[in-house]
């Protein structure tokens, strides 16, 4: 029998259709019932307008969208014979604000999604439900972001040739002090140990003595057997080129080269309800994207160790998101120290009306690779295509070829399956745009 469940609290809604056998999940199809049609409304508009409209695809990862947009437009410049150069300063600030968006997302996910559902599942009193903690950390991160980007969410301060903000030394100092506060908050409230020490951990033994939120989360996951559940495809994809990540396809633990042109979409398999989502595949195959994929591609020791023991279980997936938060905080500090304020923010480019061609922008968003593909004619958008990370993870495939999330929910109780579904950090508004 197929039963329908609605999942909220994922920024929008998803419908899961569970097919149960002996009280265990036999198959699940996933439908997303909302649609706004962002790609359509971009057609016929000035290409620069994409820099304002695409951040509005998503209230949580708008920054990833604006970076993908600006990269796509700059690529179109290049493909029509005009290379756009940007300074180290501009590229570092773009990277910094992107990373801060990832951090605020992860912090909110830990305290607004993971903790409440973990508690619900195990009825534990050990972990306090403290959504405000997540909100506090996230607001610190977005405060730093706003110094460079003007506001968050929905900032649009990137333009072909660089960034529009000409910040001062005082701004930079402010950003550093906010980051210091954010790092201390994460160390005391979440990790129970310094970021530096945490990043040096190589195996679970290293954090056995901790008594922090992180340690409690880890215990509860083990109590629930999440190290043995939620296995997806054991195949990962990390695509965007950044200093904090590494573009690679990972099968098991082996790394392979990737080329974004092999990414394509197909209609979701949703026999019970109209779904506005499309599946994303690499060479016609499903891959898991997001923090775990990035950690595997970066070959972090602790996560590789967990993967060796528990493969791509729900446990490893959750741990990777927390681990990545620490990694990104350390990376932000490095970036802020490297920014050279004397460089220019933006290098003038030739007018967009001279540009005709196609362009692609690929970035790592909180949940994985985000791709914008644009076709421009004399500065006007002919077509625009957006492929978001949730489309890989939460694709809805057939029983013969399930997506990572579908595979991960198999043979579990429905309660476990719903929790596992959330370990992918689902975003509905992004998926259907």
């Amino acid at each position: 029998m197929i039963t329908k469940t609605i999942l909220e609290q994922i920024e929008g809604e998803a419908s899961l259709y569970f097919d149960m056998k002996d009280n265990l999940v036999d198959f699940v199809t996933i439908a997303f019932p909302h649609f706004r049609g962002m790609e359509k409304m971009l057609e016929g508009k000035n290409a620069m307008d994409a820099l304002v409209i695409t951040p509005r695809v998503c209230g949580i990862c708008g920054h990833s969208h604006v970076l993908a947009s600006v990269r796509a437009i700059e690529d179109a410049y290049k493909n029509s014979g005009f290379t756009v150069n940007i300074t180290q300063k501009a590229s570092k600030v773009r990277e910094l604000t992107l990373v801060l968006e990832l951090i605020q997302n992860h912090l909110k996910w830990i305290y607004l999604v993971l903790v409440p559902h973990l508690k619900e599942l195990c009825g534990s009193k050990e972990l306090l439900n403290t959504p405000l903690k997540g909100a506090y950390g996230a607001s610190l991160a977005t405060k730093i972001l706003a110094i460079f980007a003007g506001q968050w969410p929905h900032s649009s301060y990137m333009v072909p040739g660089g960034i529009t903000s000409d910040f001062t030394y005082v701004d930079l100092t402010k950003a550093k002090s906010h980051l210091q506060k954010l790092t201390e908050y994460f160390e005391t409230e979440t990790l129970g140990v310094s970021v530096e020490e945490f990043l040096s951990f190589e195996s679970c033994k290293d954090f056995a003595s901790l008594e922090s939120d992180f340690a409690k989360i880890e215990h509860l996951l083990i109590d629930l057997g999440m190290q043995k559940k939620g296995h997806a495809k054991d195949a990962f994809l990390s695509l965007g080129t950044h200093e904090f990540s590494h573009a690679a396809k990972v099968k098991g633990t082996k790394l392979f080269k990737v080329v974004s042109k092999y990414i394509d979409t197909q209609d979701a398999y949703a026999p019970d309800e109209k779904s506005y989502a499309k599946n994303a595949l690499y060479k016609k195959q499903f891959y898991e994207t997001g923090p775990l994929a990035r950690c595997m591609a970066k070959e972090f020791k602790l996560i590789k160790n967990m993967h060796r023991r528990f493969k791509d279980s729900a446990y490893t997936r959750v741990m990777a998101r927390i681990y990545e938060t620490a990694h990104l905080l350390a990376f932000c500090k490095k970036l802020l120290d490297e920014i050279d304020i004397s460089e220019v923010s933006c290098i003038e480019t030739i007018a967009l009306k001279n540009i005709s061609g196609i362009g692609e922008g690929v970035v790592e968003a909180p949940r994985g690779p985000l791709i914008h593909r644009v076709q421009i004619k004399e500065g006007i958008i002919k077509s625009y295509k957006i492929i978001t990370p949730t489309q890989y993870n939460i694709a809805s495939g057939t029983k013969e070829n399930p997506s990572p999330a579908q595979q991960a929910m198999l043979h579990c109780s429905q309660a476990d399956a719903k929790f596992i579904f959330r370990t992918f950090d689902v975003c509905s508004v992004c998926t259907t745009h």
Partner: protein, 411 residues
């Protein structure tokens, strides 16, 4: 933090920031009495659902009463009430847990919920999330599916005709509403909204999608999206547009409601005048450059490095009514013009189609907002043209002197 509060106070109360809404002593005396009576009555009521008491939270957070009162006086200024109302506003903040709020998300990107999570003030996260009685919010609450539906039903029943309904997101009407359905029954967003709005005390549309259709309604409007005011009738309705709406304005509306039991004074587009009574441009930090005819011509040029006015790279501040140049975003850290990006007029109807980004207004065939006879809105057309005319006139001379070629931009 005390500095920050001082700053906000100064900004809110500074002369240039105020729209002339002084209604005379007699009016305020009457209002004062009314608010006082209301506050006294609210005090006799029990807080809803044992929400935390704000006094406890303030104490827990180590916020001194003096700082709290400063904040209250800043908010009093923002709400455009005389300073004598400060103690009442403080009392109203203490009674936030008497106002039940139901929050619906329709066709949107969740950006306004995100903004709310980062709202402003003395640890206002606590004030907003713990103190106001957020009885239902699909994204922020733990319950989902049938459980969530039950929670909504309960909240609607318990607080019948008393709850404030906040709506985020547009209402897609195309294909009989099938572009957006909610819950296990597959109810369309339109039906869902009508059902929940029926017994609301007032409806607050938050963000440009909920107010005027926003991005989902941008041409060609693929889903037939409209704003809340196009489908809700016979209810007090407040619009708080902008993309995202400023949390300070959401908190302001709730406070005003607690204080007076009424919706604040609205303009012809149903926007509270305290927030939308003046233009970005009136309080912009780059205004002196506008008046002097000093403009950024292209990003990356000398003008950009010198923080000149952004009008020529498409700033719509001269015709956008909003308080972001004063309140700013992310706890007052910054705002778009602060980082050299023009305002895109996100708090105006059809902002996407009309105020599209890097075309200067003069080239963008924008008509003054029509409908209604709200004074400032109607006057703006004329004022704007003269102001821009003078600015551009000076600019032309300046450019000629500098030997810089005039370029019409990309449009």
């Amino acid at each position: 933090m005390a500095d920050r509060i001082e700053g906000v106070k100064k900004l809110f109360t500074s002369k240039s920031a105020r729209v002339e809404t002084n209604k005379g002593d007699a009016y305020y005396e009457k209002l004062f009495e009314k608010c006082q009576a209301r506050i006294e009555e609210l005090k006799t009521q029990q807080p809803i659902n044992n929400r935390l008491d704000i006094t406890d939270v303030l104490e827990m957070q180590g916020i001194e009463r003096r700082d709290f009162l400063k904040w209250a006086s800043a908010v009093t200024g923002m709400l455009m009430l005389p300073a004598s109302f400060t103690p009442l506003v403080a009392d109203a903040a203490l009674l936030m847990n008497r106002a039940p709020v139901i929050w619906l998300e329709l066709s949107d990107c969740a950006g306004n919920s995100e903004a709310l999570l980062r709202s402003d003030g003395p640890q206002i996260d606590e004030i907003v999330l713990d103190i106001i009685s957020l009885e239902f919010h699909e994204t922020l609450q733990a319950a989902s599916g049938h459980q969530a539906e039950k929670q909504l039903e309960d909240a609607m029943e318990t607080f019948k005709d008393k709850y404030l309904l906040f709506v985020e997101g547009a209402v897609p009407l195309g294909m009989n509403g099938q572009f957006g359905t909610i819950g296990a029954s597959g109810e369309t967003m339109h039906d869902h909204l009508l059902r929940v709005a029926k017994h609301a005390a007032a409806v607050v549309a938050v963000g440009s999608c909920a107010t005027f259709g926003g991005v989902p309604a941008a041409a060609p409007n693929p889903t037939g999206a409209v704003g809340v005011m196009d489908v809700i009738q016979g209810k007090p309705l407040i619009n708080i547009p902008a993309c995202p709406a400023n949390p300070a304005n959401m908190v302001g509306v709730i406070l005003h409601y607690i204080l007076t039991g009424q919706v604040p004074e609205l303009d012809s587009l149903l926007r509270p005048k305290f927030a939308f009574g003046y233009r970005i441009h009136d309080n912009c930090e780059r205004r002196a450059h506008f008046d002097a005819g000093e403009y950024v011509e292209e990003w990356g040029d000398e003008g950009a490095k010198n923080n000149f006015c952004l009008y020529k790279v498409g700033c719509k501040g001269p015709m956008t009514f909003n308080n972001c140049s004063i309140v700013r975003y992310n706890e007052g850290v910054n705002w778009p013009v602060g980082v050299g990006r023009g305002c895109i007029g996100c708090s105006e109807p059809d902002f996407w189609d009309k105020y599209a980004y890097e075309r200067p207004m003069a080239d963008a065939k924008i008509k003054a907002p029509t409908g209604g006879v709200e004074k400032t809105v109607d006057e703006f057309g004329l004022g704007l043209l003269t102001a821009a005319g003078i600015g551009i006139g000076i600019h032309a001379v300046a450019s000629a002197v500098a030997g810089k070629k005039e370029d019409g931009g990309e449009a």
